[in-house]
């Protein structure tokens, strides 16, 4: 219980900024999760495992001298295929939303074991040229890896939003989420679209993973630490909405950062979960 003394203005501003950066990563992690839950009715816990797997792959490639951003060229298609394959299996067995939660939880355990047996349970830190750079804007330090994450998160969220809103594919997906049978009666090829979407969600997880590798140290068991806060962002943002996770993630990131600055870092988890509980109890309609 350290004192509740208010930190100085510049320190507060710096922590708000770092909250924005970590919030962008929450948003990026949550985007694929939100699309999968909202539009496919599948809750993919393995999303976190895939993000970590991508982060470790990026780490490994970087050790072999591949630039982390360049490694996205290989990682994204590979994870697209992985996600589409997983969805094919789930569709084949007609897994219910609740069972998808359990099934992907099992998958998460498997991926965690694979990561642990290859890269051990120790912390790993990606070493890239990005990590050493930061620049200063209006008296605040902006680290380059976090800045890249923010740009990617905003860019991708806007792109997904535009696709969902303005293209036939987006309309078909939203229609099928409302009523799959009716949508297919109107000529929507839902099984193809669903594979496409599931692949995209996992590809988004891999991008989030690469961003995570840029600015965080990695340990396999850490994937569980992300679940609560990212789910909070997803629910707060509204299921199946492209910009929701980013906005909500930023909100959570900033409130966490302020909580940490004002009290102690160990109180941070309570922010997102309290938010989550409040949404669920007060505005349950938001997430159904």
């Amino acid at each position: 219980m350290s004192g509740f003394a208010l930190p100085s203005a510049s320190l507060l501003a710096q922590s708000v900024l770092s909250g924005v950066f970590v919030g962008a990563l929450y948003g990026l992690m949550g985007l694929g999760l939100s699309l999968s839950w909202g539009l496919l009715r599948l809750i993919n816990l393995a999303h976190f495992a895939f993000a970590f797997l991508a982060a470790y792959l990026c780490y490994q490639l970087a050790r072999w001298g591949v630039d982390p951003l360049l490694s996205l060229l290989g990682i994204v298609p590979a994870f697209f295929a992985l996600g589409a394959g997983l969805h094919w299996v789930m569709a084949r067995f007609k897994v219910t939303p609740f069972n998808s939660l359990l099934l992907t939880f099992g998958l998460m355990g498997i991926v965690e074991s694979i990561i642990q047996s290859i890269w051990t349970a120790d912390f790993r830190q990606l070493e890239s040229t990005y990590a050493q750079h930061k620049f200063k804007v209006a008296g605040l330090f902006v680290p380059v890896p976090e800045f890249i994450t923010l740009l990617l998160a905003v860019g991708i969220s806007l792109a997904v939003w535009a696709v969902l809103r303005f293209t036939d594919l987006g309309r078909a997906l939203r229609g099928a989420a409302e009523d799959a049978a009716i949508a297919s009666a109107f000529g929507v090829n839902q099984s193809r679209n669903a594979l496409l979407l599931a692949g995209t969600c996992t590809a988004l997880a891999s991008i989030a993973g690469v961003c995570m590798a840029l600015s965080f140290t990695l340990a396999p068991s850490q994937m569980y630490a992300w679940i609560g806060v990212v789910f909070a962002a997803v629910m707060l943002g509204g299921l199946g909405r492209a910009l929701g996770p980013l906005v909500a993630g930023t909100l959570i990131g900033v409130s966490e950062a302020i909580t940490m600055a004002v009290t102690a870092p160990s109180w941070a988890p309570i922010v997102s979960f309290t938010l989550l509980i409040m949404i669920l109890v007060l505005r349950p309609g938001r997430v159904t």
């Binding site: 939303p97 359990l102 074991s113 047996s117 609560g228 629910m235 979960f273 509980i277 159904t288």
Partner: protein
């Protein structure tokens, strides 16, 4: 089935002699862990398996018990055994506090409940770490003496866990076969329909959660001393909830013994991996087993085995002569035709708005005892809303509902059911996992206030005969056709022996022949003493059956009177057919 508790107790007593064998301590510890997981998985199942409210917060309740015991031991030096009831109490209180909030929110079901309880785990964990309860360093109990119940400390833990597991299994079994359990399983299949049948869903969920938490709390209390060093980081994780979910799903969450089977299997598996230094492979293995179980055995080992072993069940109750289609149980006393103007249900100024849409704009309806009242009106006129409000599914925005002189406005649906009002759904909503017989027996148990399950089944069988479904008693509702499902709705509504039955478009979708059967059945329902409100579009049936009709239009009462008279009125014809544009000039 009365043998089951004896078998559980006998197994418990027999296993209590295991420490006498002088086995090495690690065997005691392994057996302890097995029993520990049996308690946790079985207690989780009492809420989550039976009602389908999957909780990911079992770690929080387990942790609450664990920290209660360790705080009382380390700080207040309570004797260990006295801390266990306290651990149960704290965990149960935590559960009740949580449940009292979230069970009130109707839409927090399924996935939302799962995620909410997951969040609770981390909130509690954060609070524990940041307060002197843990202080971030953990609590050491190495100075606390282990009570000498068994010959060695490890055997003491084994015996404690054995007692706890025996008690837990007895409780799980007792709930499974009781009226309480029947209510919980009904909540699992269709909570709204269960409430309308008279199941006090909110109270039942809360009690189930409290029992579940208390047992987890005791397991936590014992485990605190077993670990002897407690850290929040190890306790408030998702390991506990996920392991118990896995065990229950694997063993079968719709049976009291399922989680125990799963617990033994998983603990043994985990042990064989950790013993051989393959902890990582073990985790992957559990993941793989979980996936395989979900894909290939969604009902669990136990039910799969039972299905393989079970012989085809003969439909129960062939002894009854099916010709006795008279009123089965002397129906609720109805002073038939004694006072023709005797008003059974009096509705005054009833209003219901949905966010500005006025579905009912203040209607007055009297239903007289013994009559069949037709409730008519174009689509969207408020007929179904009327049924939903009177049966308690929706709370009225304004107005009063009085039944047999008692005010029922704003009563919960299960209390309205208990008062003697039953309803059917336009689209039948049977409990999908219960047999046809048990679907009806449930209504007998709750609406008819029968306590004994066997007796309820017997009465239910007679209602199946009344509706001509006796041959389908053992079938699942999915195996019935629409006509039979509609009749099952009727049998369920009747089984609570209501004075008033609200029939919501029972004839819709039936063939003309089936409609004739249904009309005859509805007549018999009235003849055995129930008053009927009959929402219907099939005019032939309305003309044939009703004593009186009321017509709704835009949520208001448009007309009232005998069917043949009311349907001739210009206002009613306009409501149904629209305005006549080319009307001949009045003479």
């Amino acid at each position: 089935m009365k043998r089951t508790p004896l078998v559980i107790v006998a197994a418990g007593v027999l296993l209590a002699f295991v420490p006498m064998l002088g086995l090495p301590a690690f065997v005691d510890s392994l057996l302890y862990l097995m029993l520990h997981w049996i308690v946790l998985a079985t207690s989780w199942n009492i809420l989550s398996g039976y009602t389908g409210y999957f909780s990911f917060g079992h770690g929080a309740f387990f942790g609450a018990g664990l920290y209660t015991t360790s705080t009382l031991l380390a700080r207040y030096e309570w004797p260990f055994l006295w801390t266990l009831p306290a651990a149960a109490l704290v965990a149960a209180l935590l559960g009740v506090a949580l449940g009292a909030v979230v069970f009130r929110v109707k839409s927090v079901r399924g996935e939302l409940f799962a995620l909410l309880t997951l969040a609770i785990t981390f909130v509690i964990g954060t609070i524990v770490v940041n307060t002197p309860i843990d202080g971030g360093q953990g609590v050491s109990l190495s100075a606390v003496p282990v009570p000498a119940i068994g010959p060695t400390p490890s055997s003491t833990f084994y015996l404690l866990a054995l007692a706890c597991a025996t008690a837990t299994l007895l409780i799980a079994w007792a709930i499974f076969v009781s009226k309480f359990g029947a209510g919980l399983f009904a909540i699992h299949d269709d909570e709204d329909a269960a409430e309308v049948m008279g199941v006090p869903t909110y109270r039942y969920k809360l009690v189930a959660l409290a029992i579940s938490c208390a047992l987890a709390g005791v397991a936590g209390g014992i485990h605190a001393l077993f670990l002897s060093y407690v850290t929040a980081g190890e306790v408030f994780t998702i390991t506990v909830p996920l392991t118990v979910v896995l065990m229950s799903v694997l063993g079968g969450s719709r049976h009291w013994a399922g989680p125990a089977v799963g617990a033994v299997a998983i603990t043994a598996l985990l042990y064989s991996f950790t013993a051989a230094d393959h902890a990582v492979a073990g985790k992957a293995m559990i993941g793989a087993i979980l996936i395989a179980a979900i894909l290939f055995m969604p009902d669990g080992i136990l039910l799969r085995l039972r299905r393989l072993l079970a012989k085809p069940v003969p439909s129960p109750g062939p002894a009854h002569a099916p010709s006795t289609l008279v009123a089965p149980v002397a129906a609720a006393p109805a002073p038939a035709a004694a006072a023709p103007a005797d008003v059974l249900l009096r509705v005054r100024g009833l209003q219901k708005s949905f966010r500005g849409v006025r579905a009912l704009a203040g209607v007055d309806v009297d239903v007289r005892r013994g009559e069949i009242l037709g409730l008519l009106g174009p689509n969207g006129s408020g007929k179904s809303t009327f049924i939903n409000v009177v049966s308690g599914h929706f709370a009225p925005s304004a107005g009063a509902i009085e039944f047999e002189g008692r005010d029922l406005t704003h009563h919960a649906a299960h209390r309205i059911a208990a008062a003697g009002i039953a309803r059917t759904y336009q689209i039948p909503r049977p409990f999908a996992h219960l047999s046809v017989l048990d679907n009806v027996a449930l209504a007998t148990l709750f609406g008819g206030a029968v306590r004994d399950v066997a007796q309820a089944r017997q009465q239910a069988l007679r209602w199946l005969e009344f509706t001509g479904l006796q041959a389908k008693a053992g079938a699942r509702p999915d195996d019935l056709n629409l006509h039979q499902r509609k009749f099952l709705e009727l049998a369920r509504a009747l089984a609570s022996r209501p004075r008033l039955v609200l029939l919501d478009e029972v004839l819709c979708g039936l063939t003309p022949g089936e409609i004739d059967d249904a009309v005859a059945l509805i007549r018999r329902i009235r003849d055995q003493g129930s008053t009927i409100v009959f929402v219907e579009h099939v005019m032939r049936a309305v003309m044939a059956l009703t004593d009186r009709i009321v017509v709704f239009h835009h949520g208001e009462l448009l007309a009232e009177g005998s069917a043949s008279d009311v349907m001739q009125r210009p206002a009613v014809m306009t409501a149904y057919l629209g305005h006549a544009h080319a009307q001949p000039a009045p003479a």
